[in-house]
């Protein structure tokens, strides 16, 4: 990176130029760099690092907003309460389930979409590219509402459309049980975020050298062989970045749970649990502890991915 961004001025500097001048210039550049980027950096720290530290602090107290007189320092006991409560493990299980299902389906579906977009007829391509952006451009709450209303026992059409399937009738209550509720939640998530994955994968597909494909074709490789031996290995970085981003995004799932089930029938996720403890029950101490645990989980996932799959995010971002 540092190689590619060195200003050309320095490269063309005559050899006879005094060394001091270069160091002055680079010092000035260093100063200007931080002057320009510093404010953005500070603001980012201020709006995230500060709140999370505040959350860590709150989490050490037994503190209910409606009962401020009894605020007391209790150390790590909030964490003890949460980690021994089945509510937390239930929420964590649901969150992991949603994350695994949606990311797995999105990856396969996104790959198929990317493939069609890459290979589609030239006349069709602009339309597809535009269409694929629509789910991305719909706000999450709206897409959740649309899917909720579609499956709802009163307002929906799904029951009457799919009445021919065994187990579905006009009285099928999709939001009456855990499994069916989560099915609809996953469906909505998948619809909304697959396009994003497919765009990332499409960018990755474009990086696979055409020469390799041709060579494999000449050597008699079948479509399937080319897919597994040429295409996928060559876009590993793009796949990993897409999976990492979507995993972390899915793990934070909140909007659709709030809109579609409000945590009913054991569909509560970790984010929703933190929200309910803090905002609804005004248990600032407990809620903050859940928030901190959520944050730690996300950090662990990110760390696990980056170490486990050796993703060089800097390289994937085009910093390499």
């Amino acid at each position: 990176m540092s190689q590619t961004t060195l200003p050309p001025v320095e490269k063309t500097q005559p050899v006879s130029a005094p060394a001091r001048r270069i160091s002055d210039r680079s010092r000035a550049e260093r100063k200007l760099g931080w002057m320009l980027a510093g404010p953005a950096f500070l603001v980012m720290l201020l709006v995230t690092a500060y709140p999370i530290l505040q959350a860590v602090w709150y989490s050490l107290f037994n503190y209910r907003l409606t009962d401020p007189a009894n605020k007391s320092f209790t150390g790590l006991s909030n964490y003890g309460v949460i980690l021994t409560d089945s509510l937390w493990w239930q929420a964590l299980g649901v969150t992991v389930l949603i994350t695994v299902i949606t990311v797995a389906v999105e990856l396969v579906l996104g790959f198929a979409l990317a493939f069609v977009m890459a290979k589609a007829l030239r006349s069709l391509r602009p339309t597809l590219r535009a269409g694929i952006l629509i789910p991305y451009a719909v706000i999450t709450v709206v897409s959740s509402l649309a899917w909720k209303f579609a499956f709802d026992i009163d307002t929906g059409f799904v029951n009457s459309w799919f009445a021919w399937l065994p187990g579905i009738g006009s009285d099928t209550d999709w939001f009456g049980g855990q499994g069916t509720s989560l099915f609809v939640v996953c469906l909505a998530e998948i619809w909304k975020t697959t396009p994003f994955i497919s765009l990332l994968l499409l960018a990755g597909l474009a990086q696979v050298p055409e020469v390799l494909q041709e060579a494999a074709k000449v050597d008699g490789a079948t479509f399937r062989q080319r897919l597994w031996k040429v295409t996928i290995p060559n876009m590993k970085a793009a796949i990993m970045v897409a999976v990492l981003f979507r995993t972390l995004d899915a793990f934070r799932i909140f909007d659709s749970i709030f809109v579609m089930t409000a945590g009913a029938n054991n569909t509560e996720t970790v984010s929703f649990l933190a929200y309910r403890q803090t905002i609804t029950r005004v248990e600032i101490g407990l809620g903050s502890a859940v928030s901190v645990l959520l944050f730690v989980s996300v950090v662990l996932i990110a760390f696990g991915f980056i170490k486990g799959f050796k993703i060089d995010l800097a390289q994937a971002r085009g910093e390499g």
Binding site: L6, P7, P8, R30, L32, G33, L36, A37, P39, A40, F41, V47, P51, Q54, A120, L121, L124, T127, A130, G131, L133, P135, A137, V138, I139, T140, V141, V142, A146, F149, A150, D154, T155, F157, N159, S160, W191, F196, L200, A203, G204, A206, Q207, L248, D249, R252, D255, F258, S271, A274, Y275, Q277, T278, I279, S291, V292, V298, A314, R317, G318
Partner: protein, 277 residues
């Protein structure tokens, strides 16, 4: 390509378009149903009516919807503006200058982007109450920066790297200072990237629900997504489904049109930021 193969590509394309449009078509269709028609168990209304739209603009739901629309526009525009200004300078430095800490800034942006929003919400809920920022515009603009700033820095750095920097050098050779070269030469070249970044950032702020629902309590600052989630409790005498659907259409269609108008650049922006395209 054989005709047979061509047909298959067309079918695949049509399936994808249907997939993308289907829920939108459904919510539009739902918004055109009269209250008595909502539970007709079919996709289309028996007879289309504008009733729900009148409700949200002049009727009983207007008190909830119109202030929310104003709040959303105001808060998101201000948050977008601030993060565009900040990241313009940061992205210039990252793409153009050589200084230690560049990697640190980009990694921080990455870390902030994957930060769970709820972990910020819970401490702010209490903090904002204490310092009087709860249920105010400023109380949402500040946390919205955590959403808009990282993506702005990335996207803009990616765009700025594509700029022909020799032109800046030429200006400097002609006697312009670094600052003049930035303002007179680079800004005009960079404005498409800045504009695209602004659209993406605005959209991300517009999409927020967690902050909106947690840090507001009245129509003083409540943004549209939060208001949409609350429609169910707002009107006691009728089914709010149709009204909610109409409001959803009103906040969705302009954004979809905007995104479609600038789709080429937005796709570039979204993917450049994450994968070298």
């Amino acid at each position: 390509m054989s005709t047979r193969e061509k047909t298959w590509w067309w079918i695949a394309g049509v399936v994808i378009i249907l997939y993308c449009l289907f829920p939108i078509a459904w919510i539009v269709s739902l918004s055109l149903k009269a209250p008595s028609d909502i539970s007709n168990a079919s996709f289309l209304p028996t007879s289309a009516t504008w009733e729900n739209y009148t409700q949200i603009f002049t009727g009983s739901a207007a008190d909830l919807f119109l202030p929310a629309l104003r709040n959303s526009f105001g808060i998101c525009l201000i948050a977008t503006f601030i993060s565009c200004i900040l990241s313009m300078f940061a992205a210039y430095a990252i793409a153009r200058l050589d200084f230690p800490g560049k990697k640190l800034i980009l990694s921080t942006a990455l870390a902030v982007a994957i930060f769970p929003v709820i972990s910020i919400v819970t401490p702010l809920f209490n903090l904002w109450r204490q310092i009087g920022l709860y249920d105010t515009w400023l109380g949402l603009i500040i946390p919205y920066l955590s959403l808009t700033l990282p993506i702005s820095i990335w996207t803009m750095s990616a765009f700025f790297r594509e700029i022909p920097w020799e032109m800046e050098q030429a200006a400097q050779v002609d006697g312009a200072t670094t600052w003049q070269a930035f303002r007179k030469v680079i800004v005009p070249l960079a404005s498409p990237g800045v504009f695209t970044t602004a659209i993406i950032a605005f959209f991300i702020a517009w999409n927020d629900f967690a902050y909106g629902i947690s840090l507001t309590s009245t129509s003083r600052a409540r943004p549209v997504p939060a208001a949409l989630g609350l429609f169910s409790g707002a009107s006691q005498f009728e089914d709010p489904t149709g009204v909610t659907a109409a409001a959803a259409v009103v906040v969705t269609v302009p954004v979809v049109v905007l995104v479609l108008m600038f789709q080429r650049r937005i796709v570039a922006g979204l993917t450049n930021g994450a994968v070298k395209g």
